[in-house]
């Protein structure tokens, strides 16, 4: 069969022939999957600016899954395989496997991994784990494909022997061996190890995916392309090997730095932090060597493959130093979970690895028989990609600082979203040069402006004969052979060590902590909650919402007591998350009502006007008050988050503290609020008085940002979400509040209703908002006659006082035992219009315990009662009035 002879017979010059079909096939597949993955990325990024843009497409989270897996497996996987089909025969002097296995590998990689993987995640079958999003059946195929890749590319090296094995060969061998070990660990183990212990394994994989697959392959290409295009050997093979072993020894120890300040044991965290800094030193060695190897080529090399390689080296330096810096605990407090990390990952995958991948493909492509390239197109692609990726990374880096600073301060969560919007616009715009750049690379390879050999062989012509003569003399000493064997065994040993140290041991420590501190048997999720969890996972909610309160002051202030190990004991797989666009949900239970959640899922901006959360109308029958089971299940799950902690101990319980002497556990147990979310709606009670320095303009801005969705533009209770909430939002024109009551409502929310607490606003903002609320009131002080008030008093004492209290202060003896726990109106501090009172008496108030009295009271009695309760109002400190919120 011709196909097999193509790759098995050495060509006339004695070097094995390259299987150009497989090089071309994987290269083209790489660019096809790259463009598709980029399209997913663009759609995802646009949704940050236009949250309702993509109604007809699969949800944001699903496309995010498709984006990341497309880049890593589709683009980089294919690009690396294409390069190996060219590089392995050159490096080993032997053909790379055989055509049949090659075709099976190609088919598996693209039609049994990428295609079904994408279809499955877009259809809602996925795994909510970073860089492991394809579901388990696809993972099995990936592992099989890696086995085939190992069968294709490793034997040539083994047959050749390790004498004088060049560093690129080491990196290829390392990448294949270590990925085969780490991929199952990262993709399968978290399914069986819950909570933070599972997250430890996820952290290892997140880093190993980059450090043991992408980086080694990228460096293999760089170490190959640079000397191949300059015609000179690399600066130092010694430094390259120092870097190689340093990388494989240290990289696996980095993983936990994705969970700094989490509940994962601090010993594991500090090990990862230390390893991150050592890795930074190793990278400096690698990059110095690569840069010195390019000496004489200029800042912008002429050779297009070398130019991409050169930029890849620069990106590698920056991204690696970023990585080391991010592991610093102080720095992590600010940038963790922010766009800084997204910029970092884009610089790694689209900067360093992609530029290396392109360099490798261009170089390999040029070497294929009858190859031709369009240099002009490639030249343009280089500049467009360099500009686009630099712009994106710089933009996201600054955005990360802005978000981090916002989160560190006590300002409302949405402030960080608003501040991020301009950066998200720039990020989306940066996709234009990037996408055109990628398309131009493909065009440059497929169009034929000039012969590839005329550009690629120039360097080879200068291949130095002196080098060849040195080569002849260099044998392979037994000591060196032994050292490589020892290092190989130690490398694998170190990987096992890293998994033990950062995966297995933390699990043991976390299990011990669970045994010590868990308040009792785990609360099992109901079937509805479990279904809701599956939906949460399917839609990629954990890409924007973490479920871990970190051991930092900012997190504790905003989200409550840090998460303890036992809180995630049922999380298979964990949902800790590594990014926050929305707030943390570890304590989401009881922070919002079911109606609020449903309105938020159906039309997020109806209740949070500046939210950028995707809408999920497909979970409803056309309206937020007609949810399908999916919506109800998801809300049930959200309401279960933090419930176990909520029920663990009485708030303020000191006995639990004596159960442990662990410093960080005590940090959680000594938190100001032991169990609940600090912003949780509270029953009416103490609240700081309104500040005196409120201003109407600020209040109107806050109104538009926070209140308009429910209460409407003019406070008439007719916002978009009003029809879906029970009780309906108050028509503020019919109410006038005393300042202390308004302070109470704004600070504590209205317990049992959808009115949240606004404790993330500062005293001046609350005062400003109170001025706007007061400005809406059209309630007059006029009251009825003495006879009406007497009659009203009788009616009130007979029918109303048991809930509203004898004095009308809302503290009747039945007030605390109402079926719906919304406190009765306090008429001493709230003046309600006559119309509203009579309407409430006649019809009741849906969503509260206020029953209709129209069938028991006459019109005269209702009017009298209204006059009486209005007469109870005790005017206190007055608020300055303002105008319309949209003025």
């Amino acid at each position: 069969m011709e196909t097999n002879t193509t790759i098995s017979n050495p060509s006339p010059g004695g070097a094995p022939e390259i299987d150009s079909l497989l090089v071309r096939a994987h290269a083209l597949a790489a660019f096809a999957t790259l463009l598709i993955a980029v399209l997913f990325g663009i759609l995802v990024s646009l949704q940050f600016i236009f949250p309702d843009l993509i109604g007809a497409f699969p949800s944001w989270g699903r496309m995010r899954y498709a984006h990341t897996q497309g880049i890593m497996l589709g683009w980089l996987g294919n690009a690396f395989i294409a390069f190996m089909y060219y590089a392995v025969p050159v490096l080993s002097g032997r053909p790379a496997g055989n055509r049949t296995i090659g075709l099976i590998l190609f088919a598996l990689w693209n039609f049994a991994v990428m295609l079904p993987g994408w279809l499955l995640v877009l259809s809602g079958y996925s795994q909510p784990l970073e860089w492991a999003e394809f579901p388990l059946p696809v993972d099995v195929v990936v592992i099989l494909a890696f086995v085939l890749a190992a069968i294709q590319f490793l034997p040539p090296f083994f047959k050749r022997g390790f004498e004088n094995l060049y560093v690129s060969s080491w990196y290829i061998i390392g990448a294949l061996v270590f990925t085969l070990m780490s991929y199952p660990m990262g993709n399968l183990v978290p399914e069986f190890v819950p909570g933070a212990a599972g997250a430890a394994f996820s952290g290892l994989w997140i880093h190993d995916a980059v450090g043991l697959f992408v980086t080694p392959m990228g460096l293999a290409i760089l170490y190959f392309v640079i000397p191949a295009t300059t015609g000179r050997p690399i600066y130092s093979h010694f430094l390259s090997m120092l870097g190689f072993w340093g990388l494989f020894f240290i990289y696996p120890l980095n993983g936990i730095h994705h969970y700094i300040y989490s509940v994962i044991p601090m010993a594991a965290q500090t090990t990862a932090i230390l390893a991150s800094f050592i890795l930074g030193l190793v990278v400096i060695i690698v990059v110095s060597n690569l840069m010195l190897s390019q000496r004489g080529s200029g800042w912008i090399p002429q050779n297009i493959a070398l130019r991409f390689a050169s930029m890849s080296v620069l990106f590698y330096l920056i991204v690696s130093l970023q990585g080391s810096l991010q592991a610093d605990m102080g720095f992590s407090q600010t940038v963790h979970f922010t766009d800084f990390i997204i910029g970092h990952s884009h610089l790694a995958m689209l900067g360093f690895a992609t530029f290396a991948g392109i360099a490798g493909i261009i170089h390999a492509w040029q070497k294929l028989p009858d190859a031709s390239i369009n240099l002009k197109a490639l030249d343009w692609s280089y500049w467009l990609l360099t500009i686009g990726i630099t712009l994106m990374v710089l933009d996201l880096t600054v955005a990360g600082f802005v978000q981090g600073e916002s989160w560190q301060s006590a300002e409302p969560w949405l402030a960080s979203v608003r501040a991020s919007t301009p950066y998200w616009v720039v990020r989306s715009l940066s996709a234009i040069p990037i996408t055109i750049g990628f398309a131009l690379v493909l065009y440059g390879l497929l169009s034929s402006a000039e012969s590839a050999q005329s550009t690629s062989n120039a360097a080879q012509q200068s291949s130095n004969e002196s080098a060849a003569s040195e080569t002849q003399a260099a044998g392979f000493s037994p000591a060196l052979r032994m050292s490589y064997i020892v290092a190989s065994v130690a490398g694998v040993g170190f990987f096992v060590f890293s998994v033990s140290l950062l995966g297995v041991l933390p699990r043991q420590t976390l299990s011990d902590e669970e045994l010590t501190l868990a308040p009792g048997p785990a609360l099992v999720l109901t079937p509805a909650e479990q279904r809701g969890r599956d939906i949460y996972a399917r839609e990629g909610c954990s890409y924007c919402h973490t479920q871990q309160v970190r051991y930092t002051e900012a997190d504790m202030q905003r989200f409550g007591a840090p998460t303890l190990a036992w809180e995630g004991r049922q999380d298979y797989p964990h949902m800790l998350g590594t990014r926050r666009i929305g707030p943390d949900l570890a304590r989401a239970a009881n922070t919002r009502t079911k109606e609020w959640h449903l309105a938020h899922l159906y039309a997020p901006r109806s209740v949070v006007p500046q939210s950028i959360m995707p809408a999920y109308p497909e979970m409803f029958n056309g309206s937020a008050d007609r949810p399908r089971r999916e919506a109800m299940d998801l809300v049930a799950y959200l309401d279960s988050l933090g419930r176990e902690r909520d029920l663990a101990w009485p708030e303020g319980d000191q006995r639990v503290i004596s159960a442990t002497d662990d410093e960080r556990a005590l940090m959680s147990l000594n938190a100001e609020v032991l169990n609940a979310h600090p912003a949780m709606t509270r029953p009416r009670g103490s609240a700081p008085p309104l500040a005196a320095n409120g201003d109407l303009e600020t209040g109107q801005r806050l109104w538009r940002q926070n209140c308009r969705g429910c209460h409407g533009r003019d406070g008439l209770g007719d916002g978009r979400a009003a029809e879906w909430l029970q009780p309906v939002p108050v028509n503020l024109s019919e109410h006038r509040y005393r300042a202390d009551l308004l302070a109470d409502i704004l600070w504590n929310g209205v317990y049992g209703s959808s009115m949240p607490a606004w404790r993330d606003l500062n005293a001046r903002q609350l005062a400003s908002l109170a001025m706007v609320v007061d400005s809406f009131s059209e309630v007059s002080n006029t009251s009825g006659t003495a006879a009406q008030i007497n009659l009203g008093q009788q009616v009130f004492q007979t029918h109303c006082a048991e809930c509203h209290g004898d004095n009308g202060d809302g503290n009747g003896f039945a007030a605390n035992n109402l079926p719906i726990p919304i406190m009765p109106t306090d008429f001493t501090r709230e003046l309600v219009s006559e119309t509203a009172i009579i309407r409430a008496l006649r019809e009741g108030v849906a969503g509260t315990s206020m029953a209709p009295w129209g069938d028991r009271l006459s019109d005269v009695e209702m009017v009298a009662a209204s006059h009486y309760v209005r007469s109870l109002f005790q005017a206190g400190a007055q608020l300055a009035s303002g105008g319309n919120a949209d003025d």
């Binding site: 010059g13 002097g93 093979h237 072993w245 050592i278 028989p369 080879q460 080569t471 260099a474």
Partner: protein, 62 residues
Amino acid sequence: MISTVIVSLSLLMAIAFTLAYLISPETRRRIEAPKFVFLDQLTKYDQSLSEGREQPSDARRK
């Protein structure tokens, strides 16, 4: 404790490798040899490619 072990091990291995490289010219030559071998291999491949191009493609495949 474990962090100390990691740092010590890493440094120890790096120092041993570096010392061997610096002290022994023979080791230095052997460690650097692969980069020249690689260039040879590249040249060989390019030559074979050029020779192959001079022949009809059918002949190359047989």
